[in-house]
């Protein structure tokens, strides 16, 4: 008895009989005449990123490297976050004082859910769409950790912001090949318009998303070069 796989493949090949047998997939040209890179100056990109994240009803604030830990602490306080979940590889210098940190070392879902918020880094941001991207890299935690607490505080350095979707996709090419690096794009808090088309922000997952944009400290060499 033939397998479903054989049957489907042979049906497909039969159905495509009109395609010249010499045609290879790469012979079907793909015109990529769309923009692949944003040309506006980087400071404007950062402004655009911030404006577009805000349009999704996410909180977004500019901070400096020196004030980062204090800004994280004040964000948590403003949201009454007492127990803050953090990934085990939280970057040094981020830990806020006077907030209880819960480090995710293989915690159960119930333990994750018992936290008031989660603090993570991200891998990049997209100005065009106001998107932050997590790729399971350092400081970003596993997926359940950014999903179960009701508040997600995400830190992005302004030099992590790219202009267009194609720039982001290109940067993610290597991790996309890796099973151990699931990728999540987040554009504002979750939302539904299912009830009479009224938009409600915050359905499942964190109902509040807050983004801190850190001004990148440029060393003398990088500004000169």
């Amino acid at each position: 008895m033939s397998t479903a796989r054989d049957d489907i493949l042979s049906r497909i090949r039969g159905a495509l009989e009109d395609i010249p047998s010499a045609e290879r997939s790469e012979h079907v040209a793909i015109p990529r005449r769309y923009n692949e890179q944003e040309s506006i100056p980087h400071p404007e990109l950062v402004d655009r990123f911030i404006a577009r994240v805000r349009e999704y009803k996410a909180q977004v604030r500019r901070v400096t490297q020196d004030s980062l830990a204090a800004s994280i602490a004040s964000a948590c306080t403003a949201r009454s976050v007492r127990r803050l979940l953090v990934p085990a590889d939280l970057p040094p210098g981020w830990a806020p004082v006077a907030i209880e940190l819960v480090v995710d070392r293989a915690l159960t879902y119930e333990q994750l859910e018992a936290c008031d918020g989660i603090l993570t880094a991200c891998t990049l941001g997209i100005a065009q769409t106001g998107t932050i991207v997590l790729d399971s890299g350092s400081g970003q935690g596993r997926r359940a950790a950014t999903l179960l607490p009701d508040y997600h505080l995400c830190v992005i350095y302004d030099d992590q912001i790219v202009g267009l979707v194609p720039e982001a996709v290109a940067r993610l090419n290597d991790v996309a090949h890796r099973p151990d690096r699931p990728i999540t794009w987040i554009s504002g808090p979750s939302a539904t318009s299912d009830i009479e088309l009224n938009r409600v922000e915050g359905v499942h997952g964190p109902r509040t998303l807050e983004v801190l944009v850190v001004e990148t400290v440029r060393t003398a060499t990088s500004t000169d070069g």
Binding site: Y34, S187, T192, H204
Partner: protein, 477 residues
């Protein structure tokens, strides 16, 4: 009401169902509001991209390449998913897909699964098949939950519960979720659904999803969503089963740079949807411990065999063609008697099940051309409709049914009913004016004018010039 998966009920004609829908005032009002709103949002975010037409060209070309070499890409996808630790299953038809899914669930000794909205699982009637085996499928999209609790059917790909208003939803939640005094505030209702589903997300061991895209090169599967129930289902259970129509494949990771611009803007009219998840096989210590991908044919290879009709398989299910369609706007989704409503349904369903089984659907259109113009992958829906009408006529000549319906005559009668009635016409004009206000930015009327005006205008210029001369020239060379 018993849900009807494909194939459609051969005895029921589009025009009869449509007439019933037209007589349902609430459905018509809600549908009008939904399509107007989404359409206006889409127009704004599409207008914002200077390279939109180039993206459409690329999207179509990527799909064309994939479909013309589908066997090659399927084998590549299979190898990539297996390399990444996933298991791949092939299903010739709905029954086989349902059997595969059932046996995976039974091996996990699960009696309940959580589900992400998926037209593909609707198409194969998965929930009903599971129920017969004593497995309950819990829908986790808010609208799907509403539809499921009400024992009803979806009326729109994107907003399936658009035919229900807030007080009906409140009553339903009170009855079914054990609440005693909910208000009918959308925020309150959403919170009730959140609480109800959170327990399920944390305890149910198996999730079932569809797939928006599967990447042959990497084995990456992508789900695009808004509510976060998708992330929950993809992350928390220990086993994940994704059922993917064989046409959902894209060749390379890079192709997301096109589709993740085309889909959200065409679909919900957003620059980007709230959550997009990508996973490649199984990630140790993060998410499900087992991943199964079910590749579904179920009539798709039949669609593939028609050189004109096969472009229907390029569809990325954005629903832009539904929202722009003057016929769909009046009748709603139920009239199409298929999980695939609207213009795409009118060309896809007859091909999936055979034109003899859905012979009135190719007539469920006025051929105005608006669907082609908005389609992000440039499916020439009017061309396929006309082609399928030819098939219907040939079918009738080959297998005449004495006293059978004069399909075209009935369809024309329906269209004149929908468009000629004076009150209906005035209502349409009024909606059109509101729509224009919505679409006016900075004093300039966007390129999607009030619907009836748009309809007549586009009808005059049909067929829409599909390419500029330069595009045509370079496509030739």
């Amino acid at each position: 009401m018993k849900y009807e998966p494909l194939p459609t009920r051969p005895g029921i004609r589009f025009e009869d169902a449509a007439r019933a829908a037209l007589d349902n005032t609430q459905l018509r009002r809600n549908m009008g509001k939904a399509t107007q709103t989404i359409r206006a949002k889409r127009a704004v975010v599409v207008e914002e991209l200077p390279d939109w037409q180039a993206l459409r060209e690329a999207g179509r070309a990527i799909k064309e390449r994939t479909i013309r070499h589908l066997d090659q890409y399927l084998l590549e996808l299979e190898a990539s998913v297996q390399r990444a630790g996933g298991q791949v299953h092939w299903a010739r038809d709905a029954a086989e897909a349902n059997r595969i899914v059932t046996s995976i669930i039974q091996a996990e000794k699960a009696h309940e699964v959580i589900k992400i909205k998926s037209l593909t699982t609707d198409e194969i009637g998965l929930n009903e098949a599971l129920l017969e085996e004593g497995i309950e499928a819990v829908e986790t999209d808010l609208a799907e939950l509403i539809v499921q609790l009400a024992g009803d059917r979806s009326s729109h790909i994107l907003v399936p519960a658009i035919h229900k208003n807030r007080s009906e939803i409140r009553d339903l939640f009170q009855r079914k979720l054990g609440h005693s005094n909910l208000s009918d505030e959308p925020k309150v209702l959403a919170a009730a659904a959140r609480a109800h589903l959170r327990r399920k997300f944390l305890t149910v061991p198996v999730a079932v999803s569809g797939a928006n895209f599967g990447v042959a090169e990497t084995g990456t599967i992508c789900i695009v969503e808004s509510e976060g129930n998708g992330r929950m289902c993809l992350t928390l259970p220990r086993v994940l089963i994704s059922i993917m129509g064989i046409e959902k494949i894209i060749p390379a990771w890079r192709d997301f740079e096109v589709f993740l611009q085309l889909l959200p803007r065409s679909s919900t009219g957003e620059r980007m949807n709230p959550y997009t998840s990508f996973w490649t096989g199984v990630a140790p210590g993060d998410g499900p411990r087992a991943f199964h991908l079910v590749l579904l044919d179920n009539g798709r290879s039949r669609v593939l065999a028609d050189p004109v009709g096969r472009q229907a398989l390029y569809c990325i299910r954005c629903s832009a063609c539904l929202n722009i369609c003057p016929v769909y706007e009046r009748t709603g989704g139920h009239a199409y008697h298929s999980v695939y409503p609207g213009p795409i349904g009118a060309i896809l369903t007859p091909q999936l099940v055979g034109v003899a089984n859905a012979s009135s659907l190719p007539y469920a259109s006025s051929l105005c051309g608006a669907c082609y113009e908005v389609c992000p992958v440039k499916i020439n829906i009017p061309e396929v409709l006309i082609h399928l009408r030819g098939e219907v006529v040939r079918e009738k000549q080959d297998h005449p049914t004495p006293g059978g319906p004069d399909v075209e005559g009935l369809a024309m009668k329906f269209l004149s009913y929908a468009f000629s009635d004076r009150k209906r016409y005035e209502r349409v004009q009024k909606v059109g004016r509101v729509g224009q206000r919505l679409m006016t930015r900075g004093g300039v009327i966007d390129r999607l004018p009030g619907q009836l005006g748009g309809w007549t205008a586009m009808r005059d210029v049909f067929p829409v010039a599909p390419q500029t001369f330069r595009e045509w020239w370079s496509a030739r060379s």
